[in-house]
Symmetry: C2
Subunit: 308 residues, 2 copies
DNA sequence: CTGTTAGCGCCTTCAA
DNA sequence: TTGAAGGCGCTAACAG
């Protein structure tokens, strides 16, 4: 039935015809048991410092959709799991549970140590997130530093003088965006950049922006850690009588579907999520086959719309 | 190990301790093979007339997130699959493939016949979508008709006189929203309601709204089939110099996370997606256990913000 | 209350 | 080239 093994083609055809006639199908569970595999890949979402982050986050859900497609193309099922890393053993627990043949982790969160530890004795894992030469594990991600720089250059070019960064600081992806942003600014502007720490949810970022604008702050250029954050900042600004982009220019990150249809349409740094998902699956299957892999970084692209 | 069967508690504890000591774990694949089950539930997304609809649609992704949580609480894995119903056999193919113990279908799309056919000989299936007494299958969904009426009443109360409906017509959920909306209007207004067919994607609905406003149409009240559509309509309106809510009031449907932080914050008919997901899983497990189930409809709630 | 045993459906090896 | 048999790790039935 599988097409493997030594068998006369006509015998094979005969068996197949018989199978079709009787509605016989291979039992995948038994096949997997015998083959010592599970046929499933886990997609793990560690919610380290941001346990409120919801699967409905547009970036995450887009990623999961593309992952589902890429995995099913290779015959794998997708086992979706959100993990609250209460203790340090969650990943190793998951590995030894043997429920899956491989693991894709979305975002390092603050779980760098856990990931490195697992990577020393478990091959079949890849991670979406920031590249760091010290990591033991293979990552796929955007060049967040370069993306941050693009945002800085664009705001500079528009003539912005007083800048603000709205972001969640802990995860390395977001750190790199911030660092890149700061690096893209001339010294005299850099030291005056206001760093506004915000939660990852739209609720949280909106509240933080509200508080910030209510205190009277009026930067003329804002770089936000994500499009969701940028949209919340825009909403809060508008509610405080700040006009975008005339009074304040806003640049987001991700280029989620809605960014284009926000009001005003969002200028943002685009990540190619679909390519990222395919690459993750590619590298994972290569690792599962015993091959070696290197981390990859995608170059982001600035999409200029109306908000900046 | 499973805690079932007749066994002295101390013997059981001894075995468990031994297992922990040696790192022994039950092999789920073998367990499932022996038990004749798979331990997985499929979540199927039929993309009938709207194959462009993407998993990144905020409603869908929120639903999937809650489903993932509800299923993992019951020990099931979630097998995610988008299906393009090219031919009529996709569901039956899936059923006989035996890859899962039960099926949750999200949205009837235009696949009513297929669902009914499958339901006659397959119990372990529930469907998110519109209730119809003629359906052979169990549905869970919002009372879309009532939701549409709420939108109508609210716009009336604001004094709107010329109304428009932006929606995708084919799926029964959206039909019911429209019918409820029309039913909630007095006769003289109802006959003048403009029906604007739009695709389900933000791109498509934005383009349709653009075209509509460019032609000079200026309704003072709009009900959109979803929040995503409503946000696109708002964006297009703003670009055409229409001020919301002063020139035109807009009511959406769903209450996705971003609705509250859109500009202006969206007035919308809220569906409780989390309760819906839990109910789907509840009913499904009850059906898998051989029990009988009835369809349920959740009452939606109008959330008044600034867009109307 | 505990220990033994027969298979769940498949794939691989080995013998014919 | 084909057929037969063993065993993947588990659970349920049965015997002790």
């Amino acid at each position: 039935m599988t097409g493997k093994g030594t068998l006369n083609q006509q015998t094979r055809d005969r068996i197949r015809a018989l199978a079709a006639e009787h509605g016989f199908r291979l039992n995948v569970a038994a096949q997997n048991l015998r083959l010592g595999r599970t046929g499933a890949i886990a997609v793990l979402l560690p919610l380290g410092h941001e346990r409120a982050q919801h699967l409905s986050d547009p970036f995450l859900s887009t990623m999961i959709g593309h992952l589902a497609d890429a995995l099913s193309d290779k015959g794998y099922d997708l086992l979706l799991s959100r993990v609250l890393p209460e203790e340090d053993h969650w990943l190793e627990e998951f590995v030894v549970s043997g429920r899956v043949d491989g693991i894709i982790v979305i975002g390092q969160s603050d779980q760098n140590d856990v990931l490195n530890r697992a990577a020393t004795h478990y091959r079949s894992m890849v991670v979406w997130g920031a590249y760091d030469p010290d990591n033991m594990y293979t990552t796929v991600g955007s060049d967040n530093f370069a993306g941050g720089m693009m945002a800085a250059r664009h705001l500079l070019q528009r003539g912005c003088k007083t800048m603000a960064w709205f972001g969640h600081g802990d995860a390395p992806e977001f750190q790199a965006r911030k660092t890149g942003f700061l690096a893209g600014l001339p010294d005299e502007l850099r030291k005056n950049v206001e760093i506004i720490p915000i939660p990852i949810t739209p609720e949280g970022s909106h509240a933080a922006a509200q508080a910030y604008f209510t205190l009277g702050h009026r930067p003329d250029g804002v770089f936000a850690a994500s499009d969701v954050a940028a949209m919340s900042v825009c909403a809060a600004a508008t509610q405080n009588g700040i006009s975008i982009p005339d009074d304040m220019a806003v640049v987001g990150f991700d280029d989620i579907l809605l960014a284009r249809y926000a009001s005003p349409p969002l200028t943002t740094v685009r990540q190619d999520i679909e390519s990222g998902a395919r690459m993750l699956v590619d590298l994972l299957t290569r690792r599962m086959a015993g091959g070696d892999t290197q981390s990859v970084q995608f170059a982001p692209r600035l999409i200029v719309r109306e908000s900046a």
